[in-house]
Subunit: 352 residues, 2 copies
């Protein structure tokens, strides 16, 4: 209603081709109802005029936006340091591309705002489906999609925490098994874990899996929760290594904490892996180039993204989607972990 936008519309094509609007629509959508002659003519004209269906009009008409929504929780510190979100987005967009879908991205400083963005999306019909990541215990976002089937949603978390929503999960049980078993075989008997925020579904699942696994093998296990940040990781590491009774291996819930803690560990006089083994629960380029390199649990996050996209596209198609757990854990052995040293630890545990 504003400017006389110079876009080519279906009417322009119809006029030029000397046929009606509906003929054009049929022809362009490959539907029956037009003769081959007309179809050819229309296609030719449309091509020459560079016609493309207006997305807003199409969305209005067939109630499909061809957008999948994702809200980034804008956590300054971690977002830019971890590659997880970027890899996920890469996988998502690549797969959505196959069906001509786009990723609609917004960001929110907190969960409160995120919830209202989602409500906005639902009410405005701005997206055909939504991906929910970083699920928390009793996450209020889930409720938005649980009852009303207005907009399909996929939760990136364990199925048991998705409140009935279809979920795409990591195999945390398998991961815990892999890591704990490995450390056990190296001779470690007391393992600590420096974990992510306690209210994260993610963390909760790992907590349980780890406790189970440690119990099964008769290992001592203690766990500190923090916020995934370098500072948080270092603080917990310092506290942990200041205790009179120290673990011989630390598992970090992310690579950022593992990496930054290496320095702290060194400053406190411990050698890795001679005095202390370090394992990161997720892998990244950083684990390869750090000194020492870090043993880490590798998962294909890009593939996670494309799998999520596939599931979302199915949901949009109205198909039933079963929750999936991706079993692609692989522990990459690097320098930061090794057998329990025979020599007594020389670390003093002094704070700098």
């Amino acid at each position: 209603m504003t400017l006389p936008k110079s876009k080519t519309t279906i009417s322009d094509v119809a006029k030029t081709a000397g046929v009606s609007n509906s003929a054009v629509s049929y022809a362009l959508n490959g539907k029956p109802g037009v003769s081959e002659d007309t179809r050819a003519k229309v296609l030719d004209v449309a091509e020459r005029l560079g016609w493309r269906p207006n997305s807003a009009a199409k969305a209005l008409s067939d109630a499909k936006t061809h957008n999948v929504g994702l809200v980034l929780t804008y956590d300054t510190g971690v977002l830019s340091v971890e590659s997880y979100t970027m890899e996920l987005i890469a996988g998502l967009t690549a797969e959505l591309e196959t069906e001509g879908y786009s990723l609609l991205l917004r960001s929110s400083p907190s969960h409160v705002e995120e919830r209202s963005i989602l409500k906005e999306w639902i009410a405005a019909g701005a997206v055909d489906a939504v991906l929910i990541m970083n699920v928390e215990l009793g996450d209020s976002r889930i409720d938005l999609f649980k009852e009303k089937p207005t907009v399909p949603a996929l939760a990136l978390c364990d199925a048991s925490m998705a409140g009935g929503l279809p979920a795409l999960a990591d195999d945390e049980g398998g991961a815990a098994h892999l890591i704990v078993d490995y450390l056990h075989e190296l001779g470690h008997e007391y393992i600590a874990r420096i974990a992510g925020p306690e209210m994260l579904e993610h963390t909760f699942i790992r907590d349980n899996a780890f406790v189970d696994e440690a119990a099964e093998l008769g290992l001592r296990y203690s766990c500190f929760h923090t916020d995934y940040s370098p500072q948080g990781g270092e603080r917990c590491t310092r506290r942990l290594l200041s205790l009179p009774d120290r673990p011989t291996a630390i598992v970090y819930d992310n690579d950022v904490m593992a990496l930054s803690s290496l320095q702290t560990i060194g400053k406190m006089g411990f050698r890795v892996p001679d005095d202390l083994s370090v394992v990161s629960w997720n892998d990244s380029f950083m684990c390869e180039v750090s000194r020492p390199t870090i043993t880490a649990l590798n998962r294909d996050v890009v593939r996670r993204g494309s799998k999520a996209a596939t599931m979302l596209l199915s949901l949009i198609d109205g198909r039933q989607v079963e929750s999936v757990q991706q079993e692609d854990n692989e522990l990459i052995f690097r320098q930061s972990s090794g057998p329990l040293g025979v020599h007594p630890r020389r670390g003093q545990g002094h704070m700098e």
Copy 2:
């Protein structure tokens, strides 16, 4: 036209409030033309019914999608390793949020596909503006927006390379000055640079700036171009250090190459910084945690993103936008660089 979507429309509100559609529209948009009584009633009803304007209808009606488009060049290797794109996106979305805009994301394996996505967006009116990143010399994407002012575009490159489009640039001249001067003062007389792809605008600008700066100070300078990847960086490093006449400092165009090359340098028997100083042209968390830590040029990429968003929003508003160069270079001095050693280098330059 398909399902009887249970969304609340403006007509529902009108019916419930007992007024006409236009009254509702006026009331909800804060425009004159309705009495305060009616307005209050309408607002109340709309609130109770949870009404939100349908985005497709709104987009169709006022020819504004409230989307800004960005195409990710899906370069598997680098995208997930570098934090640049993620930080940019964080800044973009955070700023777009202030005006209720979203970032529409698609990905393309190559520049050919990217161009057609852009053409599609223009023809379909799917976005109100577009951000062009990773500009290449003679970039064909620029041409799409140069002549026709259908969709405003902002180029993330030097203004001289933007073909007349408004541009948001880094201060590469200042950066070269900072880095070369620093190395010069440390006593280095032969500096090498391992750069990004030659066809990137980015690289081109840096090449020139670096040559100028080196010439001014009478330094020797040589440059190898590669692809930003760890492997590319290592390969060039090895070649460079195998030469009989070696530089005493290497500047890497990104942190990924700098980091992975540290290992290569070590394997070849050189010590950093005693035998060789290493500087990275961009900073990241990785530069802080590597051993040794890496001297790097720090820029606020998140701020780059929000500045870009601000400019894009101005363009959408139809305002004239001047190209901007952000002058926030800061060289962070870390362990990887130092004065030219007085002792002869002990490196043998042997390949492993």
